[in-house]
């Protein structure tokens, strides 16, 4: 079956612009996660959805970052007024059911470059 997909694979934008990153989870997976991975570091948690609702958004760095999952499937991570420090690979992952130590299935990521 299809894995987690993310679009675009690469995004180059200018400082101050708005960007949207999309994640298509594995069909039927109710949990969806967004992480940010800077060069040479491990993924850093941003937000976790269970169904349509954000169950934990404690990792969002500030109010420029926002994510939605309106129908409980596809999710969009939105970044306003981008800054050079936002440059990173944004990873999406999904898992079936409620947490409890389930494996997370990762997408290939979107590489965001802010000039």
């Amino acid at each position: 079956g299809a894995g987690v997909s993310q679009t675009p694979s690469n995004k180059v934008t200018e400082k101050g612009k708005y960007v949207e990153l999309r994640c298509d989870p594995i069909s039927g997976h109710t949990a969806l996660y967004w992480y940010r991975q800077s060069l040479g570091q491990g993924p850093e948690f941003l937000i976790y959805f269970q169904g349509t609702g954000a169950a934990d958004d404690s990792g969002l760095p500030n109010d420029r970052f926002f994510a939605v999952r309106p129908e409980g499937s596809v999710s969009t991570l939105k970044i306003q007024r981008t800054e050079r420090g936002d440059s990173a690979v944004y990873l999406c992952a999904s898992s079936p059911g409620t947490p409890g130590g389930r494996e997370q299935f990762f997408g290939p990521g979107t590489r965001l470059t802010v000039l």
Binding site: G3, A31, Y33, Y35, G40, Q41, G42, P43, E44, F45, Y48, Q50, A55, D56, S58, G59, V89, L91, A93, P99, G100, G101, E103, Q104, F106, G107, P108, G109
Partner: protein
């Protein structure tokens, strides 16, 4: 807050030999899960092995096994009979029992040499 530390930024091993990657973590939780994920150069991360904290028996998956020392908060990964395809970055991760998010270490880059 939980922290995960991987003290070996880079390691190398000869093909067919055994290598151990280290991971330590800090938590006050009693119910949690530990993971090793592999991220090949193409970037998509995949699960290697998973351990429940309440289980004393170390998890094994074919050539991959862990040494889980709960009291010492240590969770190392042993790769036996290393293969060229094992070349990747390896991440240790911690998840609290009822939580969704995982906390990752900064990774160990493993190179398997022919």
């Amino acid at each position: 807050a939980q922290t995960v530390t991987q003290s070996q930024p880079e390691m190398s091993v000869q093909e067919a030999e055994t290598v151990t990657l280290s991971c330590t973590y800090d938590t006050s939780e009693s119910n949690y899960y530990l993971f090793w994920y592999k991220q090949p150069p193409s970037r998509q991360m995949i699960l290697v092995i998973r351990q429940e904290a309440y289980k004393q028996q170390n998890a094994t998956e074919n050539r991959f096994s862990v040494n889980f020392q709960k009291a010492a908060k240590s969770f190392s990964l042993k790769i036996s009979d290393s293969q060229l395809g094992d070349t990747a970055m390896y991440f240790c991760a911690f998840t609290k029992g009822d939580a969704g998010k995982s906390t990752f270490g900064d990774g160990t880059t493993l190179t398997v040499k022919p």
